[in-house]
Assembly symmetry: C2
Homo-oligomer: 241 residues x 2
Amino acid sequence: MDIQRKDVHNSETPVLCRACESRHRGVCGALTPDQLLQLSRHSTRRAVESGTELVGESLKTTSYSNIISGVVKLSKMMADGRQQIVGLQFAPDFLGRPFRSENGVSAEAATEVKVCSFPKAAIERMISEMPELEHKLFEQTLAELDEARDWMLTLGRKTAGEKVASFLLLIATHAFPDNESDSVTFDLPMSRTDIADFLGLTMETVSRQLTKLRKDDVIHILNNRHVSVPDLSRLSERAGS
Amino acid sequence: MDIQRKDVHNSETPVLCRACESRHRGVCGALTPDQLLQLSRHSTRRAVESGTELVGESLKTTSYSNIISGVVKLSKMMADGRQQIVGLQFAPDFLGRPFRSENGVSAEAATEVKVCSFPKAAIERMISEMPELEHKLFEQTLAELDEARDWMLTLGRKTAGEKVASFLLLIATHAFPDNESDSVTFDLPMSRTDIADFLGLTMETVSRQLTKLRKDDVIHILNNRHVSVPDLSRLSERAGS
DNA sequence: CGTGTCCTTGATAATGCTCAAGGAGCGTGG
DNA sequence: CCACGCTCCTTGAGCATTATCAAGGACACG
């Protein structure tokens, strides 16, 4: 074994973490290689298929995760079965409600999802020891709150057409956060029913509004899931600014 | 001057802070008397009347505040004037978006409001020096996120009747957080128009639903603003659990 | 080739919105 | 003290948007 590597203060970044986005844009960016190594000893990486429940609405959570790839939907359900998706999470978001075992939302993989999971206790210990880590989580939570409030405007005040356009815009920008051009092509990470549950509409209304956008040449649809937007600014107009 | 007081390590709690709820349930609970004293030197306390704008939607903020009493509404507006209230804040909530000068919501006093304001720089310095303070703010932000997501379910999936009942329940529980009995009486902190903007409805629909609840004897209304709920569980049923 | 899932489209119904009129409370000024 | 003007709220009638119910199309998989 390479002695030099072992001896330097900044020990080597764990292999698993090297190509991980969480180390750059996510919460692990707050950790030194030493700490990363310590945490990685307790972490398990796994891929789950679309539809898997990652966190139950009233289940006690025993672990937290970083999303490595894929899309996770957070949802709430009423006693009679009505459902509302209250947020989408993308890599490299941190998944889980800190400081509380029960969080009132369920998390389900919307696409195939790769996660890196840690035991609750390990994370909580590191949070209490490292203000930098807590700060990162705080920043993410503030961003989620901003997004939740944006979406409240969409849910409460936009028309069906504006809602669907807003959703497409949301996916387009999150799928390609640093897209500079005015056109994008992407796969929708969710079914019509899921989109409806996110927008507070029915599946039929979502379908009709997508058809309308297609007929007005704002979007092109191939194979139900595959969408291309030739001019983002035209879509943006439809979203009601 | 009393020398003993001056010399003890834990100096005296500032007069202004003594009866303040923020010191117990709010963010100031994270501060020692020494730190409180330091902060209180920069703080200004003032009362503003209902309707005053405390934070502009795209204005750069120069100060943060603790709400001492009253209700603050956070809202977003679309270019064409459609408005959505995205949150209500009560004493002893902290008002302001940390780490960003522009926060995308405007804050307006819904009732007469008393606030204790601090310069942005002073708070940010204390946050960076005191993990405990940041932790308190983080906890409040998480609670706000939970509430925002609860409200998303209300906005997206509940009927007009359920929305109005949910609103009354929200006010009843926040006005008297430790009420044990099954009946409550309170004043609504906002107009019908504001309630409509919070629920994603029109003023007329809110009015009709209130009338319906009154005719069904779920609530009693005196003088438009004054409401009494004889049986909270019956109201809760109307809110769709 | 059948069966299943997901999506689209159509016809009809219902919920909530728009427009309109009028009532209640309140401060102001005659 | 009362009339007025004002704001806020209620109520009604008709309408628009979206939901519901139903049928059928596209595609995948056995």
